[in-house]
Amino acid sequence: MSGYSITEPSPRQKWVAGALVALYAIITILPLVWIIATGFKSSADAIAYPPKVVFAPSLEGYVNLFTTQTRQTAEYFAANPPETWYERIVQSKGLTIAGPSRFGERFMNSVIIGFGSTFLSVFLGTLAAYAFSRFKVPLKDDLMFFILSTRMMPPIAVAIPIFLMFRSLGLSDTHAGMILLYTAVNLSLSVWLLKGFIDEIPHEYEEAALIDGYTRFQAFTKVVLPQAATGIASTAIFCLIFAWNEYAFAVLLTSGTAQTAPPFIPTIIGNAGQDWPAVAAGATLFLLPVMVFTILLRKHLLRGITFGAVRK
């Protein structure tokens, strides 16, 4: 029998574990790869059966995503030869570019609303969590439970009251309204997460700062905040992912000015037939900001997820 150790897995165990991780990675990455690939296919390749794994890459999907197009006659094309690479792509289908699509606008709405509500959730959450962690708040436990209880039902369960409230307050289809809504939903998560992180910071740090001549607020900004950076970063990622991906409320409460990307992308299907490359291109671009944000903060996120799990 070979050597057996409790802490060190055997080569066989390592191999099995590695294979399982690889399998899981493939399962999760495959749809992403498929979406990204579809974004670079031509309309014909996108719906080809059997599906094409090898294909001639095309930017058709991206051009369609960012533009609106109209049909034109051969005489028009003879008089106005295409000048740019994207005009050429469009012309090959007998179309011409009529103007920009609304995708850019919708995408900016997503950025404003997603990052705005994330900032607000984390900012308010940090202040509330600090107060709950450090001060004697009357009915502290009940308040914390109340805050948690706002997350106990799916937010969409209150969609109709919120719809009515937003309508009478004039918040429907406004950036402020959506930021407010996502902040309200995220705040309970952010208060709870951040309170856990701040609880772990020994209050001696602040007391030392108080004695060293700082005010309570300076002690908070100069000592507590740098210490809580990990928690703040991981909380921000969770809040952003929720606000960024939220679909149901966005469909219900926005239609024009403040419409975010998630409800916009499916509408591409209806406009000019089932333009899967354009949908896939939209989804790919939509993935990027959260991906970049998460990669930027990944060191904090990894530490953040396990933070507090082990008492040192």
Partner: protein
Amino acid sequence: MAQIRIDSLRKDFGAFTAVQSSSFTIEDGEFFMLLGPSGCGKTTTLRMMAGLEMPSAGQIYIDGEEVGRKPASQRDIAFVFQMFALYPHMNVRKNISYPLISQGMGRKAARAKVEEVSRILGIEDILDRPVGGLSGGDRQRVALGRAIVREPKAFFMDEPLGALDAEFREHMAEELRALHDRMGATTVYVTHDQLEAMQMGDKIVVMNHGVVEQFGVPQEIYDWPATLFVAKFIGSPPMNFLSFEGRVAPGDALVTLGSVEMAIPQLREGFAGEMVLGVRPEHVRLDDGSDYRAVVRAVEYLGTTQIITLEAEHGEVKARISSRDPVRVDQTTGLAFNERTLTLFDAGTGRALRSAVNEEVLRHG
């Protein structure tokens, strides 16, 4: 440099009273120990003095000025925490200069001051290191550096050696005391370690259950404990207690334990009822001529001395005697006590009865 006076200080946390009516005075330049078991209120007392905790009642005077309601930053004191509380996101230099920057000292002056302090503490070579990787002793020195750099009126230290391992603790204790003597600043030091208190302190306050049990110089507290608690808490092994019932009158210099009469310091007050006779182990002699008999139960060899555990009629007695004296387990012997060092306690309240030798101590304790 400061004199600190505590007057009837009290702290309640809801229904729990952490400190009830403490009063004592710390003279300028003293190394002052707040000693007691955990939960006795010593740390709460220190935190009130530092301004980290608001007193429920009573006054704190630093150099005659009442500071009980003043924020910590305006009391001009420095605090050394048990876990050091070095700012983890700053390097050593920044940690030490932090209090100077907060006072608005210029970068250049602060830098010079930090270098001076680091020379005193012997940490010049680690100034630019992050605090995370430092050893316990170096962290302790950085924490001290942050405290002394400002030249405050007083240093408050909450079990500053508690986080260090035993070997290093003794070394740091000497360093701390030397530093104090060099700076001459008033130091208030909280500890639960009676040896540390005796070793380092000019004066000691012994606290228990939020009450000041005794206040005095280490020798007085060791020789003339004011209460049974102090007698038990100080000394290792602690004082021996022989319980008996009897009656004494002022002027008596004898007590009767069972059938044996024992000489004690002349009493200044009378008492009738349950009493306890206290004697330190080093004041117990094994004397075959004595009528007070006891059986040897155990012998602990400690090098130059040995601790003999004996069973006597009124309780267990430990004697610290020279290890050259031969003692066997189960041997019956007589016990004699050094009469000048005996203390008689009221068993009910734990209070020491006044006698010719301890009345001076008890008056100001």
